[in-house]
Each structure stands twice: as C-alpha cells, then as structure tokens.
C-alpha cells in the first residue's frame, strides 16, 4: 500500500466511526483513484492540498452532524445522562452561587435536563408531545448568560429533529424508481 494511501487511511479517524464504517473504504478507493490519475511529483502534492482541505471541512461537518443528531444520543442513555448532568451541574453551580437561592439553581440547572430526557424518551416511543417537550427543554434552559448551552441544545433539537423530519413526522416512504 502506498504511503499516501496509508496516511489518508489514518486520517480518516477524523470522521465519526459510523461514517467511517459506512464510507471509509469508498473514500479510500476514491483517494486511490485520484492519486492514480493526478499523482506523481507536484501532482501528489496538489491532490493532498485539495483532499486535505476537503478532509478538514467535511470531517468537521460530519462530527457536528453526529453530535447534533438526537439519534446519536437516544440509544446511549448513560453517556447522554453524564453529559447533561455535567452541563446542568455547572449551570446549577453558577446560578446558585450568583443568586444564593437553592430552588432557583435547581429549577434552572436541572429542570431543562429532566425535560430533555423526558422528551427523548417520549420521542423514542413516538408519543405526541415529544417535540413540544424537547423544544421547551432547549428554550427553557436559556437565560442570557447561558447562550452557548442554549444554542447547543436548541440546535440539537431543531436541526437534528425538525430539519431531518425525524421528530413530529412519519418516516418518508421509499419511492419506487421510475
């Protein structure tokens, strides 16, 4: 196996494992084809510049998509719970130390996580109200100084759910080829 191909194969670790499993071999094949066609001396360098840029941009995109896809978390309750509890503990700590009110800290720190997990559970069982709960959870977590937290949750719900049609919609029926 050529050095370039070995290097490219190693760099595929930048993509999520699911993406690598589905398309890793095809991507290596395409890279091999490019090197075969355009490689040799400066040509190889040129291919690497193009492919390197492509790799950075597309790997970031795939990582973000994997992170924001609710499906990526719904089957991993332990990981999702740990992440949510960590984030919400930080929010709770911040709120409690700033406001001095225990109840206020709990309400703003943990209530969104409870709503989010409930929404995910309902969504898994295809119950109505999952979309509402998920949206309330993400919006409810939002106060002025938690912009990043809110944006991440809102994106997870809105982009990962509504845009892909996986929440609140029936799956699309396969269409026969004409």
């Amino acid at each position: 196996m050529a050095l370039s191909e070995r290097a490219y194969r190693a760099l595929l670790v930048a993509y999520p494992s699911e993406h690598r499993r589905l398309y890793g071999d095809s991507m290596i094949q395409l890279f091999r084809d490019r090197i075969r066609r355009d490689g040799g001396g400066l040509g190889t360098l040129n291919v690497w510049v193009q492919v390197g840029f492509d790799l950075v941009v597309s790997a970031f995109k795939e990582r973000m998509a994997a992170l924001l896809a609710i499906e990526a978390w719904t089957g991993r309750w332990w990981e999702a719970s740990v992440v949510l509890l960590t984030v919400n503990s930080m929010v709770f700590g911040f709120t409690f130390t700033n406001s001095g009110h225990l109840g206020w800290g709990i309400a703003t720190g943990f209530a969104p996580a409870v709503l989010l997990l409930t929404g995910l559970a309902l969504r898994n069982s295809h119950r109505r109200g999952a979309t509402v709960l998920l949206t309330v959870a993400s919006v409810g977590a939002g106060f002025a100084w938690w912009v990043i937290y809110t944006v991440v949750l809102a994106l997870a719900v809105v982009v990962g759910g509504f845009r892909s049609g996986r929440i609140g919609h029936e799956p699309r029926e396969p269409v026969a080829v004409t």
């Binding site: 993509y15 993406h19 589905l22 398309y23 071999d25 095809s26 991507m27 290596i28 094949q29 395409l30 890279f31 084809d33 490019r34 193009q50 492919v51 840029f53 492509d54 790799l55 941009v57 597309s58 790997a59 995109k61 795939e62 892909s164 699309r172 029926e173 396969p174 269409v175 026969a176 080829v177 004409t178």
Partner: protein, 124 residues
C-alpha cells in the same frame, strides 16, 4: 411522496445538484461521479472524498439516491465499488430544481436587459 417535500428541499445545495446531474444519465460509482462533475463544471469543481460521500449519505437519507447492485459492465468493473442512482423522487427534485433555476435565469435575463437599457449600454 408528498409534493410539499420537494419544495422543502429547494434550493438544493450545489454539491447535491451536481451529484443529481451526474447521475441523471445512469448509475455511477464515486470516482465516476467526481469525474462527471469535473467535466460538467469545466474542471472548476473537484469533489473530494469527504464532500462526495458526506453528500451522498445525506442524499440517501433524503431518498434522492439509492445504492444499486446493477453494474454497467460486470466484466470490466471492480465489484467492490458501490454504485448509486437517482430514485424517482430524486429525479422529480432535480426537475423542480432545474425549473426553479430556469425561472431565475429568465428573471435575471429580463433584469439584465432592463439594466442595460436604463444605463444606455446597448451596443457597447
């Protein structure tokens, strides 16, 4: 398929439009798609493996494409390659996107003509 779903997908991202056009005349594997896009764009667009297969994945999820086991020429072809082709829905989305672009191009042409007349640039 609800026709409203076609409208939801428009305008198509450029990479998706290129892939739909590349597959309009038959199934192709990744390298053939990339080569076809290069030809269509006069060499100005070369899709990298990450962009191509990331886009293909999204298009498969949207049911614009499907993977096929058919081979144009099984004797000459590498069986390990994965081939893709348009679905009926993908063909309709491509049709709607091209119609949208034609309408836009028509508007642009009318605006351009009006602009040239207004600025007195005719014949220059």
């Amino acid at each position: 398929m609800n026709p409203e779903n076609i409208v939801d997908l428009l305008p198509l991202p450029v990479a998706q439009l290129h892939i739909l056009l590349a597959l309009a005349d038959g199934e192709k594997h990744g390298y053939a798609i990339m080569s076809e896009v290069e030809v269509m764009t006069g060499g100005s667009v070369t899709m990298g493996p990450g962009t191509l297969y990331g886009t293909v994945k999204r298009m498969l999820n949207s049911r614009l494409l499907e993977e096929t086991d058919e081979r144009p020429d099984p004797v000459l072809d590498d069986q390990r390659r994965r081939y893709y082709r348009l679905t009926g829905f993908g063909a309709r989305v491509l049709d709607a996107e091209v119609a949208r672009m034609e309408q836009l191009a028509g508007t642009a042409e009318r605006k351009r003509t009006v602009g040239i007349r207004r600025l007195g640039l005719e014949g220059r």
